[in-house]
Amino acid sequence: MTLATLLLLAAALIGIGIYGALSQQSFVMLMMGLELILNGVMLAAVAFWAFSGAGAPEGQLLTIIVMAVMAIEMAMGFALVVAVFRGKQADMTESLTGLKH
């Protein structure tokens, strides 16, 4: 377990996440992709903190902030899905464009 292997793992998770976020038609599945990307980011942040940050607390704080971003993204995302679904009875990403007008 070295910094390089950890970062490789993080890269793999981010790669899968990118695939998911781009390929999924459903908004909820797309969010799964985003979460997976953030999963990789958090791992990378902790890895840096552990191996090259000399234990600076900012490394941990960064992870927490990523987690907060994730929580907010999820909460707002689902609230939007509910709002859109109520109007259109659908959850495809395409329907979200309806909100932009």
């Binding site: 509910v82 679904f85 109520r86 009875q89």
Partner: protein, 436 residues
């Protein structure tokens, strides 16, 4: 052998019984609830003996076959006061209530020790729809939602949601007639969206319930009021027993049953009432199910009085008037009000019974009598289960079932309780001291 002692050990435990109630089968249920070695279970998956108690009408044979087949291997059946189907081999029929617990224990014991084989299944081994090998992946379905994957269609969006306008899939199913939370024999077709009842159609009305013969006698000749009132209180207590079991208050429900069992004019309700209000039964459990005036009139009896109608045939009886009777009422008309009403009426009945016994008061009016189920003047109180169709939609599942339990909808049978359960009522009769 290892297996042998495992089986021996298993036969030492209490007997898990799934009761299927036929007409007048509820007496057996209450008898078994008080037998310590019998454990009545709510799902056939948790049982090793299927008890068919009471006569099952022919239109409920198909559901009975289904439930019969749902018990996991190994299981056996026992028929109580009901004729076993001829094609079942080695089935025992029991007629005496006192023998019933022993017979169940023996059945379980024999099953565990291997001297009795597991009962054979009745229905063919087929999925509800043929599916194997069909469809895009051999799963029986087509496209995204079509076909019958694994033998059943998928749930679809059938009706707009009635609460928050977020319309998702609705689930339609038929529940009963052997669902323990329903009055015996009742079945309904229900549509749920989430755990909210969307539509409710009663398919089978519950079996007509047999009242104590004192109510039949009271229509023909004056009878001791003490006896009438004790029978009434006992009827109400039996209903309370079911509701408390449903609410998860196992101990109090058995206590209620024991009270009903040994009911006499010296019984009091105070302990039970205290236990109930301390536990928060009236405040914490499910509410809802408010009866409108029209509905209350339709069902009559204590449910109507819980909705604020002071109708009671007893007020017209001179005997009762002498005892100072006036109907007690609640106003809210919901589930909790009905339970409070029921407790008040039990209290009142016990009080009346005490006074009547002391003064030897008899009823004076014949021809019309207030049964625990409602007024019986020209016609017997009729089945009111159609009420659920309008009352239950919009309620959460738990509230809906609590409402079902709180309403005594079954009509009154034309026969009094048949062969009297030997232990149950006779002991009580002896206790009152003024037998006819």
């Amino acid at each position: 052998m290892a297996v042998n002692w495992l089986h021996k050990l298993a036969s030492r435990g209490s007997v898990p019984v799934f009761p299927v109630l036929g007409k007048q089968g509820d007496g057996a249920l209450r008898h078994l609830a008080l037998s310590p070695q019998i454990e009545l279970v709510d799902s056939p998956r948790h049982a090793s003996v299927l008890l068919v108690a009471g006569e099952i009408p022919a239109d409920r044979f198909e559901p009975l076959r289904r439930v019969h087949d749902q018990l996991p291997y190994p299981f056996t059946t026992l028929w109580f006061r009901s004729e076993p189907w001829p094609h079942l081999e080695r089935v025992a029929r029991i007629d005496d209530l006192d023998d019933l617990p022993g017979a169940l224990v023996t059945a379980h014991l024999e099953l565990m020790e291997g001297c009795r084989g597991s009962t054979h299944r009745l229905l063919p081994d087929e999925p509800p729809n043929p599916w194997e090998g069909e469809g895009d992946f051999g799963q029986g379905g087509e496209g995204m939602m079509g076909g019958v994957p694994y033998g059943r269609p998928m749930a679809m969006n059938m009706a707009d949601d009635i609460r928050d306008g977020l319309t998702l899939d609705s689930l339609t199913f038929r529940l009963g007639p052997f669902f323990f939370a329903f009055p015996p024999g009742m079945a309904a077709e229900i549509t749920l969206q989430g755990d909210l009842v969307q539509t409710w159609q009663t398919q089978f009305a519950p079996y007509p319930q047999s009242l104590d013969d004192i109510f039949f006698n009271a229509r023909e000749r004056p009878v001791p009021i003490a006896e009438v009132e004790l029978a009434r209180a006992r009827h109400h207590l039996h209903r309370l027993f079911h509701a408390l079991h449903l609410a998860g208050l196992e101990n109090v429900s058995l206590r209620t049953l024991r009270l009903a069992h040994g009911l006499s004019t010296s019984s009091t309700l105070d302990g039970l009432r205290r236990a109930l209000s301390r536990s928060g039964f009236f405040r914490l459990t499910a509410g809802g199910g408010v009866l409108g005036p029209e509905q209350a009139r339709m069902i009559g009896g204590s449910a109507a009085r819980a909705a604020g109608m002071a109708d009671d045939l007893r007020s017209e009886d001179a005997g009762y008037r002498r005892l100072g009777f006036s109907p007690v009422c609640q106003t809210a008309g919901d589930t909790h009000a009905r339970w409070r009403q029921l407790l008040d009426e039990i209290d009142q009945s016990l009080h009346l019974a005490r006074l009547a016994e002391r003064d030897r008061v008899h009823t004076e009016r014949t021809g019309s009598v207030e049964t625990p189920r409602g007024p019986w003047s020209a016609r017997r109180p009729a089945d009111a289960s159609a009420l659920f169709d309008e009352l239950l939609p919009g309620l959460e599942w738990g509230d809906a079932l609590a409402t079902v339990a709180s309403l005594d909808v079954a009509g009154v049978a034309d026969q009094p309780v048949g062969t009297r359960p030997s232990g149950e009522s006779r002991a009580v009769r002896g206790g009152t001291g003024n037998d006819v």
